[in-house]
């Protein structure tokens, strides 16, 4: 058996053993429906409220400002549609490199008559706050900009965008799915009104996420039914997952700082090693305003997925920036928006590090990756347009 090295932590993470342990009682003894009045229900509710406390404490917000959802995608949908529908009509500002959960929600709203401005980014993936300012119209009802991009890891200047939004009285939503629990988020300083944040990117379970909604922000529910989550998200709460999420956040609170430093060092080592061993490779994203564990690079004249497969066969899990599905090549829309030339963009590979990665993992990748790239390049016609 190969060594197994998981370098796809921006896609999902292994649930922390302490988190699994925290969840187990809620599948068993404490299985009740938290809306039930009896002890079985109240035991479940207790878990729910502990988690809400852990998370709101971590964010430094009120317990009633946190809504639990089924995932980052739902949080984004709820934030964007919830604010838009509360107004009924208007203009939304976002960027070209948002996650599909925001982009496609915006497109859906365009179909309903809302107007949307998709701001461009520069070569390093940054939104220009002045672009935000210029895009504001009298009918702008929402600004939604992600904190860090999942593909290239570039961290947006939300600290500059927030005040612009606040000054004009426009709610500011930040998709923090990739930053929550990884780098600090100062909701007040950044003037964030809504924050999407997720569990399975930070060693919590899948199937749960949160939306912070600053008190006073006008928002309507998007999923209709019972009166859960203060009527802002209907549906029986996913108690065990929420309990696990709370625990995961509690653990992040103590591990996040040191791990950010460690991952940055490991990632830099990986990049330096690749740069020294592989010709024609470039870094994508911002050199420093970047998620600690994220490395995105392009290998010229190599198709991403052949590297992903080659590494997979060596036990290394990375992700491809381009995906060739149903015969349609799709270079990453993020790289395209950043102006990465096509012959480079087709060969983008993302390695995202996490808590279980070690120096040895990096050494191993540096051992197997360079010959792989070389072999694949050797198979290729010299020039591909």
């Amino acid at each position: 058996m190969n060594r197994r090295v998981y370098l796809d932590h921006n896609a999902s993470t292994q649930v922390h053993p302490e988190v699994v342990a925290a969840m187990l009682p809620y599948f068993g003894e404490r299985f009740g429906n938290p809306s039930s009045v009896h002890a079985f229900g109240q035991e479940a509710r207790e878990g729910l409220e502990i988690a809400r406390e852990q998370i709101s404490h971590f964010l430094g917000v009120g317990k009633d400002e946190v809504i639990f959802t089924s995932g980052g995608t739902e949080s984004d949908n709820l934030a964007v549609k919830g604010v838009a529908w509360a107004r009924g009509t208007g203009h939304i500002i976002t960027s070209e490199i948002e996650h599909h959960a925001v982009l496609r929600t915006c497109q859906f709203l365009e179909g309903q008559g809302f107007a949307v401005t998709y701001l461009p980014v520069d070569g390093e993936g940054l939104v220009d706050p002045d672009d935000v300012r210029r895009a504001i119209r009298p009918d702008t009802i929402l600004i939604t900009i992600m904190h860090a991009n999942s593909e290239v890891g570039t961290v947006q200047p939300v600290e500059a965008i927030g005040p612009i939004a606040r000054e004009r009285g426009i709610p500011f939503h930040v998709d923090g799915v990739q930053t929550f629990g990884k780098i600090p988020i100062d909701l007040d300083r950044f003037r964030i009104d809504l924050l999407s944040f997720s569990s399975h990117k930070i060693y919590g379970p899948k199937g749960v996420a949160g939306l912070y909604v600053r008190k006073g922000t006008k928002m309507v529910a998007v999923q209709h039914g019972g009166e859960h989550e203060r009527r802002r998200r209907a549906g029986t709460e996913n108690v065990p997952a929420i309990v696990g999420f709370g625990k995961a956040v509690e653990i992040r609170a103590r591990e996040m700082g040191a791990e950010a430093l460690r991952l940055t060092a490991l990632r830099n080592k990986l990049w330096a090693g690749i740069g020294a061993r592989v010709p024609e490779v470039r870094l994508n994203g911002h050199p420093t305003r970047r998620l600690p564990g994220t490395l995105n690079m392009c290998f010229r004249n190599v198709e991403s997925e052949s590297i992903v497969l080659g590494l997979d066969l060596k036990g290394v899990g990375v992700s491809a920036g381009s995906a060739c599905t149903s015969g349609n090549v799709e270079p990453s829309y993020v790289l395209v928006a950043m102006g990465v030339p096509l012959d480079w963009a087709m060969g983008s590979v993302r390695a995202t590090l996490g808590r279980e990665n070690t120096e040895e993992d990096i050494d191993y990748v540096l051992e197997v990756l360079p010959p792989l790239v070389e072999r694949i390049r050797s198979l290729s016609p010299t020039a591909v347009s």
């Binding site: 198709e303 149903s326 050797s378 198979l379």
Partner: protein, 134 residues
């Protein structure tokens, strides 16, 4: 991806990869809207393929299918290759996931094009230099 062992073997150890000096026929295959590209070069003796080389840019399955396609081609009459189907190539890697069927299309297309190129050259015998058609 759940690729077959045979596909993975072809990807890991591609057979007949590389360029060919003075090929008798050259053909390329690519797929609408897909960046994948395969170039096949043939040597033909007595109407049968005696040697094959491919160069491929593409995802793992396309590389593997190129290798498997090259093995399919060797020893066959060129006339048969004119009708080489993507199903034959798919079978030669023990199947492809739906969303990777293009790998076989690219490869079958390239091999058919190389066969056509060989026949076209034979019909215009007094050409001295040959360029692959792209």
């Amino acid at each position: 991806m759940n690729y077959s062992q045979r596909l993975i073997d072809h990807f890991r150890n591609p057979r007949n990869a590389g360029m060919m000096r003075d090929p008798d026929g050259v053909g390329e295959g690519n797929f609408d809207g897909c960046g994948d590209l395969a170039r096949f070069s043939l040597k033909v003796v007595d109407g049968r393929v005696s040697d094959v080389r491919f160069q491929t840019y593409g995802c793992g399955p396309t590389i593997a299918a190129s290798s498997a396609g090259s093995e399919l081609a060797i020893g066959r009459p060129v006339s048969e290759l004119l009708a080489l189907s993507e199903q034959q190539v798919t079978a030669a890697v023990d199947g492809l996931p739906d969303e990777r069927l293009h790998a076989a299309q690219v490869v079958a297309g390239a091999i058919r094009a190389a066969a056509r190129d060989y026949l076209a050259r034979r019909n215009t015998q007094n050409r001295s230099e040959v360029r692959p058609h792209v």
